[in-house]
Amino acid sequence: MNRHWIWLAVLFAAALVAVVVIAYLPSGSSANGPAALIGQTAPSFPVVDLAGKPGALADYRGRIVVLNLWASWCPPCRAEMPDLERLSRAYLKRGVVVLGIDQGEAGARAGDFATSLGITYPVLVDDAQQYGRVYAALGLPTTVVIDASGVVRAGFDGALTYAQMSAAVEPLVAKS
């Protein structure tokens, strides 16, 4: 009987120690950058378009949005934008909109740059860099794919190829 109680006490103490030690263990690695927002509602902020009129991500709710954060000084952004334009043209009629959001620059500079590349998809100017910090950009460009209900479905750090962009939107297009 006595031995049983001793064993019970040892088990009780071991269980308690296990519980408290596990409680202080940090979690393993987790998603960082824009991918950390997957599954969350995409935040939207009022900014302006290239003509200076009010605009926001929320204006495109109900459509699949490929949100691309960029700036004119960023060489990978320049390299990626023709593929985004191609994506925009290819998927426009299938409910996909590419939305470029310039980070931290004047509207005139962003407009000149977009025009020089022949960009026809909508571009917003976020001079306060609200989108950049909330979408956890680790660099530029940063691309986030948002479904028609406004939920983030994919996030990418760095320039994408057309094939990568297409692969990211195709499952959402097929679903809708």
Partner: protein, 299 residues
Amino acid sequence: MIGLLAGCVAIALAVLLELVWPGQPIYQYGWYNALLATAFVVCAIRARALAREGAAPALALLTLVAGTAALTIAGVANGLFAPDPQVVIGSPGASVRVDDLRGSLTFPLASADPVVRLDRNGSPTEIGASGFRIAAAFALSQVRRQVLAVDVTDARGAHLTVTQPNGSAFLSPVLTMPTEQNIAGMMLPFDTFAVPAAHRVVKVVLFDRRHAAMLKTLPPDGAGGAVLFSVADEDDRAVAHGIGLVPDGATVALGGLRLKGLAISYPAVRIAAVPVPLVLALGVLLLLGGGIWCKLRKS
């Protein structure tokens, strides 16, 4: 019996204090934890003696000791295994992953908003300006600190992108000033940012009102704090006319940039480990149950 009960209650109070005043350095001192463990051993020995004397039912004494053991283990584990208290600094609107919490903290967009949100296991917890919230085995409370919102334009006034390659948020124009720089014996908040379009890197030192009052070089209109900007090129070489000390909120032309820094008070979150609440609750229940049982049977 009274001595045993007093000892158990003393251990319980000591551990419960760790929940009321979380993150005190004493909890991690070796002698403090050794004292807690020794007190428990003394209580256990005394309970065994009382059980042999028949002063109280053995099971009641065992329950009392088990509760005290749970509390002791919770307290000692908090001292020995829990991570040190930390302050998590986030940029406005940014979400910062905290591995200890297995969740992320989302900081408010505006400094006037006093609430930081913890998202953990899909359930949000709001951390307000006062008091603290318990999440898992950690107490979370707000601390206010000075951050600096910077605005950068070129010589013609066109806005330029601010980036923080080493900061908590790459694309944030708010500097969280996480480190300190020793200048003339004063430890001052320090941070850096880049202006890629202009190929410039800017170092920033923030002087609060008290430190700014000690500066002889500050213009007379500087009634508040002050900001020291040091502009260099991308290879960290100083540029001509690249250093300037200006009153907080003033605009200055340096190294081909027009710079403005505005100090604002903004929340950060202090995270301090506490004894695991579940184990504490179990310990208190067992201790109370065992204690009442002992007294009832004795009377």
